[in-house]
């Protein structure tokens, strides 16, 4: 089992680096997960992570790429809801990586 | 457009046959395989329901023989090669899994 230390806590991760217990998520955990991917979270990242968390709260599943783009366009407008913007922020795999940083389960329909 | 509907569950205590008969089109056909051939048990409600619907009914001969079901003259007993031909003959196959 992988784990990661954030503050004084050991956070369990699965083999792909996703949280084992989704309730472990916090802003600090997100920053630590991002650091492990060599990403420094900016305001642009955070708004997508928050969006993913609201997607999960609403639909109880992690979006694949297309639905992520569609949902982002719906909530933040087409300037941000496009693959170029999301790929740039999340190293070309927005559905998978952003879900990881947002503390969501790995998307099952991630193609 | 025509669809071959394929049933394989016993019609007793299962509503696939009932549903299928509600939706089946006049150009469609019905193939009974496995326990679905029990629908051809003479005198039963599924038997009557099938007989009263003027649709093409096929049954896999070996499944009927194994279950001591006699295929009535308004239905046709077929083997596997005929099943394949039937599938090709229709635009699509809808298996009621």
């Amino acid at each position: 089992m992988n784990s990661m230390t954030v503050g004084a806590r050991a956070i369990e991760l699965d083999k792909d680096g996703f949280l084992v217990d989704l309730s472990d998520w916090s802003a600090e955990v997100a920053s630590a997960l991002a650091a492990a991917e060599a990403i420094e979270l900016t305001a642009e990242h955070w708004e997508v992570l928050e969006l993913l968390r609201s997607f999960y709260a609403e639909f109880q599943l992690s979006p694949a790429t297309r639905p992520l783009i569609k949902y982002t366009a719906l909530k933040l407008g087409p300037d941000k809801g496009n693959s170029l913007h999301l790929n740039r922020l999340f190293k070309g795999t927005p559905a998978k990586l952003a879900a990881k940083l947002a503390g969501l389960p790995k998307p099952t329909n991630c193609l | 457009m025509s669809t071959l509907h394929v049933l394989s569950h016993s019609p007793f205590g299962d509503d696939r046959l009932t549903s299928c008969l509600r939706l089946i089109g006049s150009a469609d056909a019905l193939l009974l395989s496995g326990d679905a051939v029990y629908a051809l048990q003479t005198g039963t409600a599924p038997f009557t329901a099938l007989q009263n619907r003027q649709i093409n009914v096929f049954a896999l001969a070996e499944d009927a023989q194994a279950r001591a079901i006699e295929v009535p003259d308004w239905a046709e007993a077929i083997d596997y090669p005929a099943f394949v031909e039937l599938s090709i003959h229709h635009d699509k196959v809808n298996s009621w899994l």
Partner: protein, 118 residues
């Protein structure tokens, strides 16, 4: 042009994996941008009942998942009106789903290239 696919979902949400499997096919098809439709038939309409509580059985919330269908590009959503009225389902949790009578379902099946009934 990709072949169009109709999924007929006819299992109750709590009886086993059938309802979830049907939804997974639809979501995967939607993610691939396939022309895909979903019809709720027989006990499948029970998936649409409003006010279900998955937490009571510690299960995943299928009705919440169903709300994501339009987001996954699946806009063709239908249910059998007879199945719903037989089961006393009046209040549906999925606004986008359209009621169909039996003969409309026959025509619907005709319209798609392939059909999978689960």
């Amino acid at each position: 042009m990709a072949k169009s696919l109709l999924i007929i979902s006819r299992q109750s949400p709590w009886s086993g994996p059938g309802a979830r499997e049907a939804l997974d096919i639809v979501l995967a098809g939607g993610a691939f941008d396939l022309p895909i439709g979903l019809l709720f038939l027989d006990d499948g309409v029970l998936q649409l009942a409003a006010g279900q509580n998955a937490k009571a059985l510690q299960q995943k919330d299928l009705s919440a998942n169903l709300q994501a269908l339009p987001m996954f590009g699946v806009e063709e959503l239908f249910y059998c009106a007879d199945s719903a009225s037989t089961r006393g389902i009046g209040n549906l949790s999925l606004d986008e789903a359209q009621p169909l009578a039996a003969e409309q379902i026959t025509a619907l099946i005709d319209r798609y290239d392939q059909v999978i009934t689960l």
